[in-house]
Structures are given as structure tokens and as C-alpha cells.
Symmetry: C2
Subunit: 153 residues, 2 copies
């Protein structure tokens, strides 16, 4: 799998937050229900995003999380780096430690090109991009949901 499951959940959660026009704090409990992710598991993932400055959290009644920046300033790569770290963009395709320009494996050059295209795609796609597309075409962020029901109160 390209992205870890935690990372995928983080992406879905970020898109969910980005899709809310209001800038209130969103409580995790209902969020986990809408996204069909275990509350405690989602909580940990969101904590990582908060620790990395992508989200802001607020404790107490009416607390929750919200995006720390405008969603058009947040790219998918930000979420991926916060949760999976840089290994997708740095690791050798043949799993050799220290593979790089200095001590490459036979596949290094070709993989570096492919890897860059992955990085560019993730870096050039913002949360806003996907939310707009999702709303316009009423796509889904869960197995059987769609944007409309996702945003319904």
C-alpha cells in the first residue's frame, strides 16, 4: 500500500474538516461516526496532525479540532508527511539503506523520477481541490457515503 491506513484516515479527516465552511471546532466523536473510523484511533491520528501544526485543538465543552490554515494552503503532502513521514519520498525501491545519488541501486534513477511525480501530485493537490470536486460531483469519503450526507447535520 502506498499510504498507511493511519495516513488515509488522516486524509479523509482533513477533507472532512476542509469541507465544513464554518470555522468552528469540530468534536471528534461525531466526526468519527461520520467517517466510520474508531473514535480512539481517529483521536490519535488527529493528535499527530495537531502536533505537526496542521490542526488546532480545543479542550472542554464545544471543543474539538479545526484546520490551522486555510484548506487551499494545505496540500495532501502535508498530511502524508505528518503521519507517514518522509520515507515514501526518500526510501529505496529495492529497500537498500543509504540508497541515493552517492551510492545508488540499479533502480535508483528511474525510481527517483517516478517518486517525484508522486510527490508533485501530492504537493499540487490541496484540500480545497478535492473538496470542491467532491461537492460538485457528490463523491464519497467513506465506503457508502457521499458528500451531501457527510455534511448534513
Amino acid at each position: 500500500m502506498l499510504l498507511s491506513k493511519s495516513c488515509v484516515y488522516g486524509l479523509r479527516a482533513a477533507l472532512y474538516l476542509a469541507s465544513k465552511e464554518k470555522e468552528e471546532f469540530t468534536p471528534i466523536k461525531p466526526m468519527s461516526e461520520r467517517l466510520e473510523i474508531s473514535f480512539h484511533f481517529l483521536t490519535k491520528i488527529l493528535q499527530q496532525l495537531t502536533a505537526n501544526g496542521l490542526l488546532e485543538s480545543f479542550k472542554g465543552p464545544n471543543g474539538g479540532v479545526r484546520l490551522a490554515k486555510s484548506p487551499d494552503k494545505l496540500a495532501l503532502i502535508d498530511v502524508v508527511l505528518a503521519i507517514d513521514g518522509p520515507k515514501l519520498l526518500t526510501e529505496c525501491a529495492l529497500g537498500l539503506p543509504g540508497c541515493g545519488l552517492k551510492n545508488p541501486c540499479p533502480l535508483h534513477d528511474k525510481w527517483a523520477i517516478t517518486r517525484d511525480s508522486i510527490r508533485d501530485m501530492l504537493a499540487n493537490t490541496t484540500l480545497t481541490d478535492l473538496v470542491e470536486k467532491g461537492k460538485k460531483e457528490n463523491l464519497r469519503l467513506t465506503e457508502d457515503g457521499d458528500f451531501e450526507q457527510l455534511l448534513r447535520d
Copy 2:
């Protein structure tokens, strides 16, 4: 990780076999030592490649495995499909089941393009390509080895 560890080992093993000019059967035991992969683990991986028609095996004294085709007819994608299956080329980046043209996720279109570039790279790179590059530049297939010592008797 893009490829499973089994798949990476399978690729290294395929490259090792492709780098031998002789078309004899190569016993797995010394091969596992050269590639620094557990003998039994490598055996299972090679069995998958044999079952998928990429390798031929031969039992008994002077037995072992060899490529079933010319290495310039074997692309990396063949090994990847044999071991990891097609999921890298079919799975949704957001992990949603059944994601495709009919019922896409918001990221589907962009991911499909990126995924194609991965597939093309793997499909357009043959074992011969990498072996020639590895021999010419004396690169490595193991953590600290290089092609010269890999092929030494």
C-alpha cells in the same frame, strides 16, 4: 512502502539470476547467502515466481532455479504482479473499496494518472536494463555488496 519486502526480495533475486550469463540452474542456498536473504524465506518467494511462470525449477543434484524467459523479456512489473498482486495498480489511494471510474473518490482521477506512471516505469524496465546498468557502474543489490563480488564464484 511501495512494494512488500517479499516483492523486493523477489526483484533482487530476479536481477541476480538475470546477471548470470550462464543458463544453468542456480541452487537457492548459495543464492540466499549472496543476497543476504534467509534461505527458507527466499525459497518461498522463488516458489511464487516459479508458480507464476517467471522461473523454472529443477530438483535434485545440480538443481535450482533459472529464468523461464530471456531477461530482456521480463519487466519489473512481472515480478511485482507475481508477488504483490495487482493491488498497487488498482487500489484506491484513499482506501475506498470499489473506487473506480463508476464510483470514484475525490482523489481517483489524479491518483490514476500517478499510478499509471508507476506502472509504466515498472513495465518499461526490464531485468536486462538494470543488470546492464548495475554491471557498468558496479552498483549493488545488497546492503554492502556490489555486482563484481555478487558474480564472483
